[in-house]
């Protein structure tokens, strides 16, 4: 009944809560990780023989704390560890005490563990690597592959990040309500970064897709801690709705497939359903935020069975909301795509005309602009914009996608712009 796969899944599931409680006891990340590691080793040895404990998290905290304390003591006078046969027979009473102790704290514990990983002194790529290693418990090898670096380089990155944290004081006092919300915001950004790292690399790469899966897991973890926080629902919804399309986003040749050209039967139905359910739950709170509105936009796409069924007017209105909450030229650029679908390319071009200065070095600006000019029949203007976009492309797939437009342009005779015909 208790096979190794079950134990592995149980340990991984218990990790955030158990490790974060151990961090509270030992106030040192390395000591907490060692204690969790020791408890996990004992679980692997004793659970198959004695059966799994009723409460795996409480067991791991209890055993980890004892072994950690023992390790500290051992340095002094070599006190032996308790015999193993006693360990899985822990008195239920003792486990209950451990559970009660930790049940009261676990939300702040886990939030602290996540928050420690997003220390503002750490660059984003170190925050993400640390969260994946420490909170999600991914093996170094997997994280290294996901970031396309060697294991040695990744180990150094994580060691450096930990050293930096150790040099600072970890915030052990439970935060007040305001401090808690502040931590929540920082952690949400980190989870979004983990996702984006995978998403931006294209999902044909299974190592990159893993980052997206882990971000969703971390998001759900956060949502369990804050079940009524609409922005957390929005964040998880956004990740789910984007990730649900991953199979349709890249074709067999590794080229990006635009939303309107995607084979919607490849979208993941349950993931879309979950995302849409979360958007609806979040919007009931009537406290709009950037994650919720972005998720609501993604949900509009998810609703449309065919690209032509998309309600672009609704998407335009959602982008207008986003422009109010988080004014940014990139948001306006995205809105322009919805405007072009709902009200035509001329309206969209007028909307992005003032953005030229701010977005001149932004790949998507020139890509979108080229597309709009092309729709208006201005082929030379389109060609110029597409060439500019290729020069700014961040990945071969992005460049290849724009090149397709240029190839199509090259295949047709140059026409005078539509405005000239009129």
């Amino acid at each position: 009944m208790v096979d190794n796969a079950w134990i592995a899944a149980a340990l991984m599931a218990a990790r955030p809560q158990a490790l974060s409680a151990l961090l509270r006891y030992f106030r040192n990340l390395d000591a907490a990780e060692e204690a969790f590691q020791e408890a996990s080793l004992r679980a692997v040895r004793t659970w198959p023989v004695k059966g799994p404990p009723r409460d795996t998290v409480a067991w791991l905290i209890f055993v980890g704390r004892n072994s950690g304390i023992d390790a500290l003591r051992k340095v002094k006078n070599n006190v032996a560890l308790p015999p193993e046969e006693h360990l899985s027979d822990l008195d239920d009473a003792e486990v209950d005490i451990a559970e009660r102790l930790d049940g009261a704290h676990y939300r702040d514990d886990i939030l602290r563990l996540l928050f420690v990983c997003c220390h503002p002194d750490l660059p984003a790529n170190q925050q993400i690597a640390l969260a994946l290693r420490v909170v999600a418990g991914l093996p170094l090898r997997q994280i290294a592959r996901a970031f396309l670096v060697s294991e040695v380089a990744m180990e150094q990155r994580i060691t450096r990040a930990k050293a930096r944290i150790a040099a600072n004081t970890v915030p052990f006092d439970p935060p007040d309500a305001e401090g808690r919300l502040e931590r929540l915001g920082v952690v949400a950004v980190m989870i979004y970064l983990v996702f984006n790292e995978g998403y931006s690399r294209g999902h044909s790469d299974p190592d990159a897709a893993l980052l997206c899966d882990e971000a969703i897991r971390l998001g759900r973890l956060l949502q369990r801690l804050f079940p009524s926080e609409p922005e957390v629902m929005g964040l998880v919804a956004l990740l789910l709705l984007q990730h649900a399309r991953h199979k349709a986003r890249v074709d067999a040749e590794g080229q990006i497939v635009l939303l309107e050209d995607q084979d919607r039967s490849l979208w993941d139905g349950p993931m879309l359903a979950e995302g849409r359910a979360l958007v609806e739950k979040a919007l009931r709170h009537q406290e709009p935020g950037t994650y919720q509105v972005q998720a609501a936009i993604a949900a509009q796409h998810a609703r449309a069975r065919r690209a032509e069924d998309t309600d672009w007017g609704a998407i335009d209105r959602l982008y207008q909301t986003l422009e109010v909450i988080q004014p940014s030229p990139v948001v306006t650029l995205n809105r322009a795509v919805a405007v072009s679908k709902a009200y035509g390319p001329a309206a969209a071009l007028a909307l992005i005309a003032p953005l030229g200065d701010k977005l001149d070095s932004y790949f998507h600006y020139h890509g979108v602009r080229g597309g709009l000019l092309l729709q208006l029949g201005d082929t030379s203007g389109a060609r110029e914009a597409f060439n500019r976009a290729i020069a700014l492309a961040g990945s071969p797939a992005e460049a290849a996608h724009i090149r397709l437009h240029l190839d199509r342009l090259a295949a047709q005779p140059a026409l005078p712009p539509a405005s000239a015909i009129k």
């Binding site: 009944m1 096979d3 796969a5 079950w6 592995a8 899944a9 149980a10 991984m12 599931a13 218990a14 799994p52 409460d55 899966d213 897991r217 759900r220 949502q223 369990r224 079940p227 009524s228 629902m233 998880v236 349950p270 359903a273 979950e274 359910a277 979360l278 739950k281 009931r284």
Partner: protein, 123 residues
């Protein structure tokens, strides 16, 4: 007699399964389901989305209280169910045993006899 077989497991642990592990488990469960189907004993089957997507309405003396989250916080969550037409509790237990063989990782199955059943119009 109609029995509901309710599936409980730690959804945190289930969510650590890779896509391949999850698909393999669902495929093994489908074999058990098909065997019941071929004998005309299988009713509706559902797998539920995570409890993080749940909303709960609590009855009060006035307007119901709407809560984000599942009905109860538990270590193992209600993840899905089968409705099966079984001649006896023994047959229902045999069915649940097959489900456990197909999905041996943690959790359990609760067998509950069904009182009232309105057949689906959803097909």
């Amino acid at each position: 007699m109609l029995y509901a077989v309710l599936c409980y497991n730690d959804e945190n642990a289930v969510s650590t399964w890779t896509k391949e592990e999850d698909d393999a488990c669902m495929a093994r469960l489908a074999v058990v389901e098909d065997s019941m189907k071929s004998r005309g004993k299988m009713g509706p089957v559902a797998r539920l989305l995570p409890t993080t997507s749940a909303t709960t309405l609590r009855k009060t003396s006035g307007e119901p209280l709407i809560i984000d989250g599942p009905f109860a916080e538990t270590k193992e969550q209600f993840l899905g169910f089968y409705l099966a037409d079984c001649d006896s509790l023994d047959e229902a237990i045999a069915f649940a045993k097959e489900l456990i063989k197909a999905n041996p990782s943690g959790g359990g199955y609760e067998i509950r006899p069904v009182g009232i059943f309105h057949p689906s119009e959803l097909g």
